[in-house]
């Protein structure tokens, strides 16, 4: 998978990494059981501090997306192991709140808003990135 890090974006690098990897898993760019580069290797390839990659991987591990084994390294977990948690439901609402609010302000009606959501969802599921 091609990970894209935008240094000019205000989103923190570790979060960009985390989001990219989740996107990769969702779109199938990263397959279950596939291994990701080690912390050191990824940090060196991107050109960032080890701690940043560490934080991204730690976050993904805590959220259940990745498993870290002694021998195999960093592995993508199976879909079944990532089932929706209460924490996710709460975060989903929190993440959608700013987008929905701005849509209302900018007079985007509910149907249009839902259409956009559906489009993005389907694009990812179809193996492409929005």
């Amino acid at each position: 998978m091609l990970l894209k890090i935008d240094f000019e974006n205000e989103v923190p690098i570790y979060l960009q990494l985390r989001n990219q990897i989740v996107l990769g898993i969702a779109s199938g760019a990263l397959q279950p059981g596939e291994s990701l580069p080690s912390v050191r290797q990824l940090a060196a390839d991107v050109g960032i501090n080890l701690h940043t990659v560490n934080k991204a991987y730690a976050t993904l591990r805590a959220e259940g997306f990745l498993a870290v084994h002694k021998r195999e390294g960093v592995i993508v977990r199976r879909r079944e192991e990532m089932a929706a948690s209460e924490g996710f439901a709460r975060r989903l609402r929190a993440d959608l709140e700013p987008s929905a609010a701005e849509a209302i302000c900018r007079s985007l009606d509910e149907a249009a808003f839902l259409r956009v959501c559906a489009e993005v969802y389907r694009l990812i599921q179809g193996g492409r990135q929005a």
Partner: protein
């Protein structure tokens, strides 16, 4: 006096450097010009193309003139100072040209004409980059190791055929100027060196795999494919060049072991031929593929991820990558084709130190062997063997047979004084003042600067006790005369 083979090598190295330096700014990664990052939107500006054309004119003409000038100077004078001055001047010119045009580009950048609306800084990394082999398999290194093994086993098979004194160093004139006594350490010296070089090449294979990914975000798919090919091609080249270098050392080894009758001339030509091929191929790789493989024709898949970041601040002078936050050790060169170290990483200084030590050691070690002092006892010891040479020299002078007198002169000595010149010197200076040598006896030996002087007291027709000093190289099995001096009160008048 530099030999023709060394002159040919100088000529080739000069032309190689000229060609490589001229091509380099045209084959760096697109978007980096003289070590300065230029946004993609502005790469097609006439100022950039104009700058490169100006460089071509500047370096093409000045570099060409300097190259041609030194080639002519070295061929005409055959002098070592011209040789070294030529190499140094050309290297200096490479940097003069680089900094001159880098300065112009920096001025342009500072004037703000490369401004973009939204600064962009995308880095793309392929998570699967190293999952499939990037470099040629180590099993192919069986070929160079076979050559090493053959060289290592040669003395075992042919010990008796190896002479007691081994030639160990050739000077710029192509002559042997130092010998060592045969021993296991000396006969295995070349195989050891070959093993070291071959091992080093294998280690470079690992480096090629570990080098930081540099993917162009403007067309990442194509960039990945190009970079993979680039690393693979260079790893194959490293394998081939380790074979070539091992063959070069084999030629040298065969000469040291004196197992194959070969003139110094042929040896030099073989060595330089192999080195020529090895170096010339890097020109092909540079011109054809460019840095990172960015000029390898690979179809564009149309995907894009954004524009690269302005990373000028991480590169000192546009040449040295210094980023302490980046754990990467090996990175691509910013100017030129190849790889270099991240000097912000402390380990890079260790590696740099080790590489410098190896390079300096391999140059200084033979020189140290040559300059080693001979003890007084060893100096005395050569006298019985050198006596026939001295006898012959003085007999020749006695009978005005100058052809005979110069018979055992070394080639360098002969260049300064052949039979005709000696006759002229003798007849205009020595014979009128001193006469000819009639009787002589050995006095003592002196050792200095790698040479041994044998001093004789010689009775000439018109003066007794003239000091004649005949100079030899202590380990020369043929005892060629390296120097001749006469001293007496009458001569000093």
């Amino acid at each position: 006096m530099i030999s023709t083979e060394n002159l040919l090598m100088f000529t080739f190295v000069t032309l190689f450097l000229y060609a490589m330096t001229w091509i380099t700014p045209h084959r760096t990664r697109r978007g980096i010009v003289f070590g300065v990052r230029v946004p993609a939107a502005h790469l097609d500006r006439p100022e950039i193309a104009g700058l490169l054309r100006e460089y071509d004119r500047f370096y093409g003409v000045l570099g060409g003139a300097v190259a041609a000038g030194f080639i002519a100077a070295v061929w005409l004078t055959r002098s070592a100072p011209a040789f070294f001055a030529g190499l140094l001047t050309q290297l200096a010119l490479v940097y003069v040209a680089y900094f001159r045009f880098r300065g112009k580009l920096l001025a342009l950048k500072e004037s703000g004409i490369f401004a973009v609306e939204r600064p962009s800084g995308v880095v793309v990394v392929d998570t699967r980059f190293r999952e499939t082999p990037l470099v040629v398999s180590w099993r192919w290194y069986a070929a160079p190791w076979l050559i090493v093994a053959i060289n290592a086993l040669l003395p075992v098979a042919c010990w008796a055929g190896i002479p007691a004194r081994l030639p160990f160093h050739w000077n710029l004139a192509g002559q042997v100027d130092n010998w060592v006594d045969k021993s296991w350490a000396m006969v295995e010296a070349m195989p050891l060196l070959m093993a070291f070089v071959t091992g080093m090449m294998m280690v470079f294979s690992l480096v090629l795999r570990a080098v930081k990914q540099e993917i162009n975000p403007e067309s990442p798919g194509r960039s990945v494919a190009q970079n993979r090919l680039f690393r693979l091609r260079w790893s194959k080249y490293m394998l081939a060049s380790s074979v070539a270098v091992d063959l070069v050392f084999t030629v040298v080894n065969l000469n040291i072991l004196s197992l194959v009758p070969m003139s110094a001339s042929v040896m030099m030509l073989l060595i330089f031929g192999l080195l020529f091929l090895t170096m010339a191929y890097t020109l092909v790789l540079t011109a054809r593929d460019g840095q990172g493989g960015s000029y390898i024709p690979v179809p564009d898949d149309g995907q894009t991820a954004g524009a690269p970041r302005d990373d000028d601040r991480f590169y000192k002078w546009g040449l040295f990558y210094v980023n302490a936050d980046d754990p990467a050790l090996w990175v691509e060169k910013r100017y030129g084709v190849g790889w270099t170290l991240n000097f912000g990483n402390r380990r890079s200084w260790l590696i740099m130190g080790a590489l410098l030590a190896v390079a300096l050691g391999s140059i200084l070690l033979p020189l140290l062997l040559v300059r080693s002092e001979v003890g007084a006892a060893a100096a005395e010891a050569i006298q019985p063997c050198a006596q026939p040479v001295v006898d012959n020299l003085l007999e020749g002078m006695k009978t005005h047979d100058y052809e005979r007198a110069v018979k055992d002169f070394s080639p360098e000595m002969l260049a300064a004084m052949d039979a005709a010149k000696m006759r002229q010197q003798a007849e205009s200076v020595f014979v009128p003042k001193l006469g000819v040598p009639e009787a002589w006896r050995y006095d003592k030996a002196k050792a200095k600067g790698g040479f041994v002087s044998l001093l004789y007291r010689v009775d000439f027709t018109q003066e007794k006790d003239v000091t004649v000093r005949v100079v030899f190289r202590p380990k020369d099995p043929e005892f060629k005369v390296q120097g001749l001096w006469l001293d007496s009160p009458k001569l000093r008048q």
